[in-house]
Amino acid sequence: MDKVDQPAERRCTIVIRGRLSDRLGSAFPEMALQRHAATTMLSGRADAAQLGELLDRLRDLGLEPLSVDVDG
C-alpha cells in the first residue's frame, strides 16, 4: 500500500451493465464510452479523488459498476 496518497492521475476503466445512451452518458464527459454487447466501458484518466467522485456519480444514477480497474 502507498504510504501517502499522491494526486497522480491513473488510467481508470469502469464497466457497467447495459449499453449506455448518449443522453445519460453525457453525465460523464471526462470519460470515453465504448459500448459492447451487454455492457458499456468507461475509460479515462483520474486521480483517486476524481475516481471516487465519478463512482459516486455513477451510483447516484443507479449504475452500479460491474468492475473498476486502475492501472499504475
Binding site: K3, L24, L61, G62
Partner: protein, 718 residues
C-alpha cells in the same frame, strides 16, 4: 404491504443493538425503514435523522441526533448539548451523558440514521461506535447505507446483536412484485408480463417503481413491457427518461427546477421556481405515490428519491446548464431569509456566488464557532477554495482565527497578510486585522506587540471583530505589568463579553483578573473571582477549555495557602494539562511555574525542577514574556535551581519505551504534515494520532511537537 417478510425481520430486531440496511441507491432502504416504523410505532417510537455531508462535523451530527431523539424523549441530551458547544471530549463527556439520558427511559426506541454512507469523518464513526459499545437496552440503532460503515460489525454479528438486510433481500420476489403491481397499484398485469418485468429489473425496487410510473396511463402495457424487456440500455437510462419524457411539461419543469434542492418545502420551491403553487404540486407528486418521500409527519418537508434526484439534476445540467447556478442562488437567498445559515452557504457555494457566500460566512462564522462548529466553518472555507478566500479580506481573517484556535500558529501571519493584500482598509477590516494580530502575538508570547495591536483594534471602535479580540488586550496588559490599565480593560471586556453572551471571553478575562489579584498578594479575593469563572465554565460546558487555566491555577494556589496540598496539586496539574490544549504560551508557562511550586511543597524536588525547566523552555521562546521572566526567576530562586539548571535539563530520562506505533507517528513529526495528514499517511484516525502524540509528549517530558522533535533527536530516536 409488499415487504411484509422484511418488516417482520426488522420488528424482531428491536431486541438487537443494530439493524443495518445496506444496499445500492434505489433499493428501497428508506421505504423499508418507513414501513417498519409504520408497523412498530405503536409499541416503539422512532427518532429519525436523514444525514447529509454537513454531518461530517461531529458537533453538527450530534446536534442532529439529539434533535431527532427529542421528538421522542423531550429532554434528552440537555447537558450533552451544552457540553457540545465547548471543547469537552465526545467520548469522555458528551456521549456518556447522552447515553445515560437514554438509559433512564423505560420505553424502547429506535434511532434511524438514514444515508449513513455520506459520513466519512472518523470522529462520527467513533461516536456511533461508542453508542454501540455502551448501548442501553432501551435503544436500537437502525442504519441505512450504500456502503459498509467502519463500525465494529464483526463483533456485533458474533454476538447476534446485529440484524442485516442487504441488497439481495431487498429485491422484490415474484410474489411481492405481483402484490405491488397488481394489488397496490392495480395494474392487473398478466403473470407473464410480471415475470418479464421481474426478469429485466431483477426485483430492483427503483426499476419496478419507474416501470410502474411508465405503465400508468398507458393502453398497451404488455407491449411496453416487451419493448423494455428487449432493450439493452441500463434500467434507469431507459425507464428514467421514459418517465421524464412522459410527464406533463409543467410538472417536468417543476421537477427540474427543484432538483437542486436536498430537501423540498412549498415556500422554498415557490422561491426557487418562481411559482406560487408548489405546495399543491408537492402534494400531487406525493399522491402519485412515487418519486417523493415525506421527511416529516406534517407533510411540510420532502425529498426526492435519491436516484430520481440524480437523474433530474443530470437532465437539468444537460438541457439548461446556465440555470443551475441561478437556482442555487435563489435557494441560498431563501435559506438566508429563513435563518438557515448552513444551507444558505452551501447553496451560495454551489451557485459560485462568492459575494453572497462570503457575506454569509462573515456575518455568521463567530456564532457558529461559539456553538462548537469549527469544522463546519472550516469546511465552508475549504469548499470555496484558498484562491477565492484570498480575494476576501474578511474570509482571510476567519481563516486566521481558525488557525489560531486549532493550534496552527504558523499559518496565522500568512492569512493576516492575505487579508491586508485583499484590501483591508475599511475600519471594520482594520479592526479585524488588528484583533487577529493581537491574538496571534499574545499566543506567541509577545505581550508588547499584542498590546500594541490590541490598542489599534480598540481605536477602530465597535466592530464585529472587536469582541473576538476582546479579553486579550486586558490579559496582555496584565502580563506586561500595566495593572491599572489592565484592570480597567479587563473589567470592560468582562462586561462586554457578558452582555454578548461570550462566556469563553468572560472566563478568560476573569482568570486574568484573578491572577492579577494573586500577584498583589490578595489570594482570597483572587480565589473568589476564579471560582465565579469556574462555575460559569461548568454551567456552559466549558470546564475542559484551556481558557480556564488561569482560574484553575489561582484556585489551586488558594488551596495551597489553606494547606490542602494534595487538592491544590490536582487542580494545578489539571490547569497544566488544559493549558497545553491551547496555544497561549504564557499561560502554559504560568501553570508550569505553579506546578513547580506545588511539587516542591509536596516534597517532590525532582518533579518541581522538571516543571520549572519546562517553564523556562517556554519562556525563553517568547519574544516579550513580560512578568513571566520575573515569575520564573522567583520560582527558580525558591527552588534553588538557577545554578543547577543545565544539569537538570540533561538528566531527563525517557520514562517509558515508545511503542512501534508511537515511533511511526514520531518519525512524521519533523515534517510539515498536519496531525490529520499524519493519520492519513498511517491509515489511522485523527484521534488516534492525537492520543499517540499525547503519550509521546508524556514519555519525552515535553509539551509540544517541536519540543518532542528536539528531545527525540537528543535521545537519538530520530
Amino acid at each position: 404491504m409488499p415487504r411484509a417478510r422484511l418488516v417482520a425481520l426488522l420488528t424482531g430486531a428491536t431486541e438487537a443493538k443494530l439493524a443495518l440496511v445496506q444496499a445500492p441507491v434505489g433499493s428501497g432502504k428508506t421505504t423499508l425503514l418507513a414501513e417498519w416504523h409504520a408497523a412498530a410505532h405503536a409499541t416503539c417510537p422512532f427518532a429519525w435523522l436523514s444525514l447529509d455531508r454537513g454531518d461530517n462535523d461531529p458537533v453538527r451530527f450530534l446536534e442532529g441526533v439529539i434533535a431527532a431523539l427529542r421528538t421522542v424523549v423531550p429532554r434528552a441530551g440537555e447537558q450533552a448539548l451544552v457540553d457540545l458547544a465547548g471543547p469537552a471530549s465526545l467520548t469522555d463527556v458528551v456521549l456518556p451523558s447522552l447515553v445515560n439520558d437514554l438509559a433512564a427511559q423505560s420505553q424502547k426506541l429506535v434511532l434511524v440514521l438514514d444515508d449513513y454512507h455520506v459520513i466519512g469523518d472518523p470522529r462520527v464513526h467513533e461516536a456511533v461506535t461508542f453508542v454501540l459499545d455502551h448501548q442501553p437496552a432501551t435503544l436500537t440503532l437502525a442504519l441505512a447505507t450504500r456502503a459498509e460503515p467502519p463500525l465494529p460489525l464483526g463483533r456485533l454479528r458474533v454476538r447476534r446483536e446485529l440484524v442485516d438486510v442487504h441488497a439481495e433481500q431487498l429485491r422484490f420476489s415474484d410474489d411481492e412484485a405481483t402484490t405491488l403491481l397488481n394489488h397496490t397499484l392495480g395494474f392487473a398485469l398478466e403473470a407473464g408480463d410480471v415475470a418479464r418485468l421481474q426478469d429485466r429489473t431483477e426485483g430492483w425496487a427503483a426499476g419496478l417503481q419507474l416501470a410502474a410510473l411508465s405503465l400508468s396511463g398507458r393502453e398497451d402495457r404488455s407491449g411496453f413491457i416487451s419493448t423494455f424487456a428487449g432493450d439493452d440500455r441500463p434500467i434507469v437510462d431507459y425507464l428514467g427518461f421514459e418517465v421524464l419524457d412522459g410527464l406533463p411539461p409543467d410538472t417536468r419543469e417543476f421537477l427540474l427546477q427543484t432538483s437542486i434542492l436536498e430537501r423540498l418545502s412549498g415556500p422554498l420551491c415557490d422561491h426557487v421556481s418562481g411559482r406560487d403553487d408548489s405546495a399543491v404540486k408537492l402534494d400531487e407528486l406525493e399522491r402519485a405515490g412515487l418519486l417523493l418521500l415525506p421527511l416529516d409527519t406534517r407533510r411540510e418537508w420532502y425529498r426526492y428519491h435519491h436516484l430520481f434526484a440524480g437523474l433530474l439534476r443530470h437532465e437539468l445540467a444537460r438541457t439548461n446548464p446556465e440555470l443551475v447556478a441561478a437556482l442555487h442562488r435563489r435557494a441560498s437567498a431563501w435559506y438566508r431569509d429563513a435563518g438557515s445559515v448552513g444551507e444558505a452557504v452551501d447553496h451560495a457555494i454551489a451557485g459560485r456566488d462568492v459575494v453572497a457566500a462570503s457575506e454569509l460566512i462573515t456575518r455568521h462564522w463567530y456564532a457558529e464557532l461559539q456553538r462548537g462548529r469549527i469544522e463546519t466553518v472550516a469546511g465552508w472555507l475549504d469548499s470555496l477554495g484558498d484562491e477565492l478566500v484570498r480575494g476576501q479580506a474578511s474570509l482571510c481573517l476567519t481563516k486566521a482565527w481558525i488557525a489560531v484556535n486549532t493550534g496552527r500558529l504558523d499559518e496565522v501571519a500568512g492569512w493576516i497578510r492575505a487579508a491586508e493584500r485583499a484590501g483591508a482598509d475599511e475600519p471594520v477590516l482594520e479592526s479585524g486585522v488588528a484583533s487577529l494580530q493581537e491574538i496571534h502575538r499574545y499566543m506567541d508570547g509577545d505581550v508588547e506587540r499584542a498590546v500594541e495591536a490590541g490598542r489599534r483594534s480598540v481605536q477602530t471602535g465597535e466592530t464585529p471583530w472587536r469582541p473576538v479580540g476582546c479579553p486579550v488586550l486586558g490579559i496582555a496588559l496584565f502580563w506586561s505589568g500595566a495593572y491599572t490599565e489592565a484592570t480597567a480593560e479587563l473589567e470592560t471586556a468582562t462586561d462586554t463579553a457578558r452582555a454578548g453572551g461570550n462566556h469563553l471571553a468572560v472566563i478568560h478575562a476573569s482568570g486574568a483578573l484573578a491572577a492579577m489579584h494573586a500577584e498583589h498578594g490578595d489570594l482570597e479575593e483572587a480565589d473568589a473571582v476564579a471560582q465565579v469563572a469556574l462555575r460559569l465554565a461548568h454551567e456552559r460546558g466549558l470546564y475542559e477549555h484551556w481558557a480556564t487555566t488561569l482560574a484553575r491555577v489561582v484556585h489551586g494556589r488558594e488551596l495551597e495557602r489553606r494547606g490542602l496540598i494534595a487538592d491544590a496539586a490536582d487542580e494545578i496539574d489539571r490547569g497544566v494539562e488544559l493549558s497545553t490544549r491551547g496555544v497561549a504560551t504564557l499561560e502554559i508557562a504560568y501553570a508550569r511555574l505553579a506546578q513547580a511550586d506545588a511539587r516542591q511543597l509536596h516534597g517532590d524536588p525532582g518533579g518541581a525542577a522538571d516543571a520549572a525547566r519546562r517553564a523556562r523552555m517556554l519562556i525563553e521562546r517568547c519574544a516579550a514574556p513580560g512578568l513571566l521572566s520575573d515569575m520564573l526567576a522567583r520560582t527558580e530562586r525558591r527552588l534553588h535551581l538557577a545554578s543547577r539548571r543545565v544539569l537538570v535539563g540533561d538528566s531527563a530520562p525517557v520514562a517509558d519505551e515508545l511503542t512501534d506505533r508511537e515511533l511511526s507517528v514520531l518519525r512524521l513529526m519533523p515534517t510539515e504534515l498536519s496531525q490529520r495528514e499524519i493519520g492519513d499517511a498511517l491509515f489511522i484516525s485523527l484521534n488516534t494520532v492525537k492520543s499517540h502524540a499525547r503519550s509521546i509528549y508524556r514519555k519525552l517530558n515535553v509539551d509540544a511537537r517541536d519540543e518532542a522533535v528536539e528531545q527525540a533527536r537528543a535521545f537519538g530516536l530520530l
